[in-house]
């Protein structure tokens, strides 16, 4: 049992000892209407640019159905100030999209997102695509060891991987540093094998960082751990793929707030985590990132 749950049960028991009663709150001034939510991340590396639209389930009042939360008839436009493109609705992905070849996203440029629904709801936001200038991956660290679990007498290999990069000087940067691993497994009688892609076990919120403390310094990623069965003698070379996303501040603040809330949503003692939004008129985020990557092969 989690410690705060033990403590919560004590408090609830105490409250029950006292005579407590509950009733509906009337005349409470709070906005309980459904709001338009727009979320979009743009990047020069993406092949498709997508905008996700939905409506919020209002905290108070009648609950809307799943269909009622969808926004399928909005006018969604992306603009760079000179060129404007309309995004089409994609039923399969429940999102609005445009292919990258129809609308290019380039570094250092500011883009504008505008959403208008037939009911008159509007949401607008802008973001600037970060530059990769002065940023490069400088160091990669790999280690591995065999771990023997006392609990179930299981032996496994733990591979650790992290990397460093040079932060761009003179400007505030935000990063998302990710690593994933691929390797090819060949099981008899298959001779070609097949590619296996695997993620590490780690706290995803730690992938995101800001250079506020180390401007113009070498920055270090989170440590990524990968588990393999020691007896897996069919494994070939491991490829560790580093992806460094240079994000704008909107990307950083939104993801940080979402991960923080998700981690603590069952803890009544934690401070409520407010979700970041840069959307004017509605809520959500319009953010940009620019990626660079590298791969290290471990034979």
């Amino acid at each position: 049992m989690r410690l705060h749950k033990i403590f919560l049960s004590v408090i609830l028991l105490t409250a029950a000892i006292f005579q407590s009663c509950e009733e509906d709150v009337k005349n409470f001034e709070a906005n309980s209407t459904s709001q338009l939510v727009a979320t979009s991340y743009i990047s020069p590396q993406d092949t498709v640019h997508r905008v996700f639209l939905q409506r919020t389930q209002p905290a108070l009042g009648k609950r809307l159905s799943e269909e009622g939360l969808k926004v399928m008839d909005a006018t969604v436009t992306l603009s760079d100030g000179q060129n404007t493109v309309n995004l089409a609705y994609d039923v399969t992905n429940n999102s609005y999209f445009v292919r990258a070849e129809a609308f290019a996203i380039v570094a250092d440029k500011t883009y504008f997102l505008k959403v208008i629904t037939p009911h008159g709801d509007r949401a607008e936001a802008s973001c600037t695509v970060p530059s990769l200038k002065g940023i490069q991956i400088t160091e990669q660290n790999y280690s591995s060891k065999v771990i023997h679990s006392k609990f179930d007498n299981y032996r496994y290999t733990e591979q650790k991987f992290d990397f460093k990069w040079q932060d761009a000087p003179g400007i505030e940067n935000y990063y998302r540093a990710s690593v994933y691993r691929t390797h090819t497994e060949i099981y008899p009688p298959t001779v070609q094998g097949y590619k296996v892609s695997s993620g590490s076990y780690h706290d995803v919120a730690r992938e995101i960082s800001a250079d506020t403390k180390s401007n113009d310094q070498v920055m270090k990623s989170n440590e990524f751990k990968f588990i393999s069965d020691v007896s897996n003698e069919f494994s070939k070379a491991y490829h560790f793929h580093m992806v460094l996303s240079v994000c704008d501040k909107h990307y950083y603040l939104y993801h940080k707030s979402v991960y923080a809330q998700l981690q603590n949503d069952d803890n009544p003692f934690a401070e409520p985590t407010l979700i970041y939004s840069n959307m004017v008129g509605g809520i959500g985020v319009f953010a940009a990132y620019n990626q660079l990557g590298a791969t290290k092969v471990i034979e």
């Binding site: 049992m1 989690r2 410690l3 705060h4 033990i6 004590v10 028991l13 105490t14 409250a15 000892i17 006292f18 005579q19 407590s20 009663c21 509950e22 009733e23 509906d24 709150v25 409470f28 709070a30 309980s32 459904s34 709001q35 991340y41 990047s43 993406d46 092949t47 997508r50 996700f52 939905q54 919020t56 389930q57 209002p58 905290a59 108070l60 009042g61 009648k62 609950r63 939360l69 006392k150 994933y180 992806v243 990307y251 979402v258 991960y259 923080a260 809330q261 981690q263 603590n264 803890n267 003692f269 934690a270 401070e271 409520p272 407010l274 979700i275 809520i283 990132y289 660079l292 990557g293």
Partner: protein, 811 residues
């Protein structure tokens, strides 16, 4: 410049130099001894009248007795140990001194002032002063004090105010004063001028009390039977006080009756209490012991199932022993021990399980009073204080045992030395130092699991040394001008770092008329210990942590201006004060941070508390009005506070300013106590407060987050589906206003053996449903085709109308 002094000194001062400086009381004593010996030679010939002021019958030393020479501005008052000293010019005739104290008959003495004179006084307690006596006597007037923002609550008055379940509570009476606010319903934590409960220095006989509440804050741990005095300072702090930003609550325990055995006790719905005091050696030594325990657990036990035993109780124990070696030396040993214990035991087929939570304070003080001469009084205190919070879980199944213990706490060992030097009626000088070795244990964890052959012990202590030296003078340079000027130098050694902060203090008063004064004050405070709190309601889980090399001390600057007016003929006093307080480097939990450093015992993965906090600033400003009547058949007060409190933290609310949870625009309290006859006392209180600020959820939606794909650059993956809550502005909504009336009646009757009192009170007399908290509830209805759901805001009210009766006795 002042602000950066600690930085300036940080590399210049060697660690051992500073404590050595603080540890030189001899220098200070020598200096003041020289002054006290030579000062009469420097001016005209003077003589000193000094002694102790006691209560007649019990010989209890009285604090704050007003001593004055009628027709002059010469006056003084007794200190915490009942000692007074007044030095007057030698005269041919005798001089007259008057000794007055609220609730006691005034004493007038004529003294032939030919030489230094020792004069001990005993004042007779009167249960009620007749109106005519009120007019005749000259009680300490608010317009005469240099200090402001200070509230002295008579302990007798505390016993007359109606209380929840008949449990008389010092802290809840303090909440009824302007500038002092309660948190949530029934909570004894106090918020002074926008500061949190951790910014109040609560000292019981010189020992700091870190968690002053029982039962999650519903009751405070101070037993009125054992208390002699309660004083709250909320601004204009004299230099002798420091270490907290918002207030000082100075409580002193009774010494114990030196003449005869005396007892007091009571039985209420919740608890029983008993206090005994009496002489160990008549006239020289006495003791006091006072205890209280709740008994809901004992009464409920027969109704519980055999296999399950839940239980909760709290207790308090105050004890004091003192020895009077004569005029020059006195020794006091006092202590407080109190604990809350909750446990839940089960036993099914030999499989035993026990889970529990307990927390408690223990304090101990050894004090030695020494009179160097008629004008120089010293007190030396050795102080111990400890607060500990524990959660435990134990299981036993066959041969296997599982045991988990988690605790946090703080332990203090301190030395304090204070001097009172009273060279003449114009000056009252105090100086001293204190040094406290704090040991913080933010997280101590022990796990033992024989089944998994697992044993882990993770105990982290942080040791810091907090010291301060101070000097202050209450000075009357002109007949209409009073000053309290002081300087405090505080220091903390922590994690290899020194913080040294000067704290200037100044309070000034100018009497426009005999009964009307304007006052002003400026204070700087530093706080080196911090309380990490999620709820702000003073839960025992709140974590005490020190300043470290990563966490700077909290600092505040406060200015206040006010008017004090005495309506002598009506026995009334009126004060109006305006204040502005700015605090820096206050700390709070980051959004989503948890109050336990160890979230999952199984993982034993601890979180550094310093990573969980965020630094910020606070702004508090407002105005307070108090109309008070302390004596007469009808006594009480009306208080009104208009205030604003805003906070800003780097990592909360995206760095934007927001109103504090307990920001209270309007706060009104009315207290009336009426002595209907010798045997009947009526009392009533009414309070009103703006609703607490809350953060409201506005709606929920599926968060679309962006994750770099395993398929390579350029084809990123959108994770769409985790439901998140969109909140409104931080503390941007208000709960309904809080208001409540309590009424009470006491029936006193003299008996052969002493006196008994029946106390009947009604809490929340008109059954106002005040909100304790809000939550969103979902109600579903079948409409013939499908379920329709509706979310509604619900309010939980904790205390409806609650009548109670208690029985008290004393002999």
């Amino acid at each position: 410049m002042v602000r950066n002094l600690h930085v300036l000194f940080q590399d210049k001062i060697e660690f051992y130099n500073l404590p050595r400086f603080f540890m030189k009381p001899g220098l200070l004593v020598l200096l003041l001894l020289l002054l006290s010996s030579f000062s009469p030679l420097l001016a005209q010939k003077k003589h000193t009248i000094s002694g102790y002021i006691r209560e007649k019958g019990s010989r209890e030393l009285l604090i704050g007795v007003s001593v004055f020479q009628p027709g002059t501005i010469n006056s003084t008052s007794s200190n915490t140990y009942g000692f007074y000293s007044i030095t007057l010019p030698a005269v041919q005739d005798s001089v007259t001194l008057v000794f007055t104290y609220i609730g006691f008959r005034p004493e007038t003495r004529k003294i032939a002032l030919q030489q230094n004179t020792a004069l001990n006084i005993e004042l007779q307690h009167t249960t009620v002063l007749k109106e005519v006596e009120v007019i005749a006597e000259r009680v300490q007037r608010v317009s005469e004090s240099a200090l402001m923002s200070t509230i002295d609550v008579p302990v007798d008055q505390i016993k007359n105010v109606p209380a929840l379940l008949g449990e008389k509570d010092v802290m809840k009476v303090l909440q009824l004063m302007p500038g002092v606010q309660s948190g949530s319903e029934g909570n004894s934590g106090i918020y002074v001028r926008g500061g949190g409960p951790d910014q109040n220095l609560i000292i019981l006989d010189d020992a700091t009390v870190y968690n002053a509440s029982h039962l999650f804050g519903f009751f405070s741990l101070f037993n009125g039977d054992a208390l002699k005095s309660v004083e709250l300072t909320k601004g204009g702090f004299p230099a002798r006080y420091g270490g907290r930003l918002s207030s000082v609550i100075d409580l002193n325990m009774k010494d114990g009756n030196k003449e005869k055995l005396h007892g007091e006790g009571g039985i209420s719905i919740l608890s029983s209490r008993l206090m005994l005091e009496g002489p160990v050696k008549k006239g020289t030594s006495s003791f006091l012991i006072s205890g209280r325990r709740t008994y809901a657990d004992v009464l409920a036990r027969p109704f519980m199932p055999k296999n399950e035993k839940p239980g909760y109780y709290f207790y308090d124990l105050n004890a004091k022993l003192n020895y009077d070696f004569g005029r020059k030396d006195k020794l006091y040993l006092s202590g407080y021990f109190g604990e809350d214990r909750f446990s839940y035991k089960t036993n099914y087929n030999g499989e035993k399980e026990e889970t529990g939570v307990n927390w408690g304070n223990a304090t101990g003080t050894l004090r030695w009073n020494h009179l160097f001469n008629d004008r120089l009084f010293a007190n030396t205190s050795l102080i111990f204080s400890r607060y500990q919070f524990n959660i435990y879980s134990e299981e036993k199944s066959g041969e296997d045992t599982y045991s988990m213990r988690y605790s946090s706490g703080i332990r203090d060992l301190g030395l304090k030395f204070d001097l009172d030097f009273l060279p003449d009626p114009q000056h009252s000088i105090r100086a001293g130092f204190l040094s406290t070795a704090h040991r913080f244990s933010p997280s101590a964890f022990v796990l033992k699991d024989t089944d998994a052959n697992q044993f882990e012990s993770n105990v982290n202590h942080i040791d810091v040394v907090e010291s301060a030296a101070y000097i202050e003078d209450t000075y009357k340079p002109l007949p209409r001008v009073r000053l309290n000027a002081g300087f405090r130098l505080s220091h903390l050694y922590t994690s290899g770092k020194h913080y040294l902060n000067p704290e200037p203090r100044l309070s000034a008063s100018y009497s426009i008329k005999d009964d009307l004064a304007v006052k002003g004050t400026y204070t700087q405070m530093n706080q080196y210990v911090h309380l990490l709190s999620n709820t702000g309601i003073g839960l025992p889980t709140d974590l005490w942590v020190p300043s470290t090399n990563r966490v700077a001390p909290q600092r505040s600057k406060q200015v206040a201006f006010g008017i004090a007016k005495d309506l002598v003929e009506k026995g009334l006093s009126v004060t109006m004060e305006g204040y502005y307080k700015k605090s820096d480097d206050i700390i709070g939990y980051k959004e989503g941070a948890s109050f336990l450093l160890l979230e999952n015992p199984g993982s034993a993965e601890t979180v550094r508390w310093e990573d969980n906090i965020t630094r910020g600033q606070a702004w508090s400003y407002g105005a307070e009005w108090l109309l008070q009547k302390k004596v007469g058949r009808f006594s009480g007060w009306v208080g009104y506070t208009l205030s604003w409190t805003q906070l800003q933290f780097d990592s909360l609310n995206f760095g934007q300013k927001y109103y504090a949870r307990y920001d209270r625009r309007h706060d009104i309290s009315m207290v009336g106590i009426y002595k209907l006859s010798e045997g009947i006392t009526l009392s009533g209180t009414w309070v009103y407060g703006t609703g607490n600020a809350i953060t409201m959820p506005m709606g929920t939606y599926s968060a679309s987050t962006n994750t770099p794909s395993k398929a390579g650059l350029g084809s990123n993956y959108y994770y769409n589906g985790r439901e998140i809550t969109q909140y409104g502005p931080m503390n941007g909504h208000r709960m309904a206003p809080y208001h409540r009336m309590d009424i009470g009646v006491q029936f006193h009757k003299k008996k052969r053996w002493g006196e008994r009192t029946w106390d009947i009170s009604i809490y929340n007399a008109y059954n106002r449903k005040n909100p304790f908290y809000y939550y969103i509830g979902v109600e579903s209805q079948w409409n013939g085709n499908n379920f329709e759901s509706e979310s509604k805001l619900k309010q939980v009210t904790l205390f409806p109308i609650i009548p109670s009766v208690s029985y008290g006795f004393k002999f």
